[in-house]
Symmetry: C2
Subunit: 135 residues, 2 copies
């Protein structure tokens, strides 16, 4: 348990080239979001970061006018966003109906609610654990 101990780094030199585990915020911004079959449903506008914990809380999805949703932004729990190298996009299977019913806010408003009750609704809608440790 000393600082010199290597116990905290058990597998550092196991793989010849470790998998990249970091991604740049400005690379995520602007990335497409698609269903598994390839249909584009939106674009990641930005990430919302919880200042206290340093966790990425949400990806904010914007839309190119589908379903009359051009004026809405959808906060999706980051834990539900999975990057697919095959699609070259984040993959999430939400139907048009599910997108239309999802918690959203006006695109010209800022999303910084700090409102656990509304945030809990988002996480329940997506069946995702909250980033602050509650469900």
């Amino acid at each position: 348990m000393t600082m010199e101990s290597t116990e905290t780094l058990p597998r550092t030199d196991a793989p010849a080239r470790p998998p990249h585990s970091l991604i740049a915020s400005d690379r995520v911004e602007g990335t497409a979001v698609r269903r598994s079959e390839g249909k584009k449903i939106g674009t990641i506008e930005r990430l919302m970061i919880d200042k206290l914990s340093g966790h990425v809380a949400y990806a904010i999805l914007s839309f190119g006018g589908i379903l009359g949703m051009g004026q809405k932004h959808l906060p999706v729990p980051w834990s539900r966003m999975q990057y697919s190298p095959a699609l070259e996009a984040y993959e999430i299977n939400l139907t048009d109906e599910e997108l239309a019913k999802a918690p959203s806010y006006a695109a010209d408003k800022e999303f910084d609610w700090g409102d656990r009750k509304r945030e809990t609704e988002i996480h329940k809608y997506y069946g995702a654990r909250t980033y602050w440790g509650a469900y």
Copy 2:
């Protein structure tokens, strides 16, 4: 312990207006980094996010040519970045000498090391706990 339990939201309606706890990634990007006395030492270029945990791992600092450091980027553990409303900047007290000696990489290279050994050096340099739970 049921889903309907309100135990997970103990203080939701305590403050009339809860403090904002979320910040947008594209708002952090481009924000100045200053010492407590106000001297600007750099700008946050982007954030590096750990894909596995969803944690913000580093703020990447760029420089306007001070100390001949225009071609270098510095990854600073996110836990060391504290926003100061008074400074309208992230506040970190690093001397010119400390900045010159800090772990860095060439600005024209990508930072996605996935190399725990090099990352551990960064965290030790800044006296910050690693985002993957080791020191």
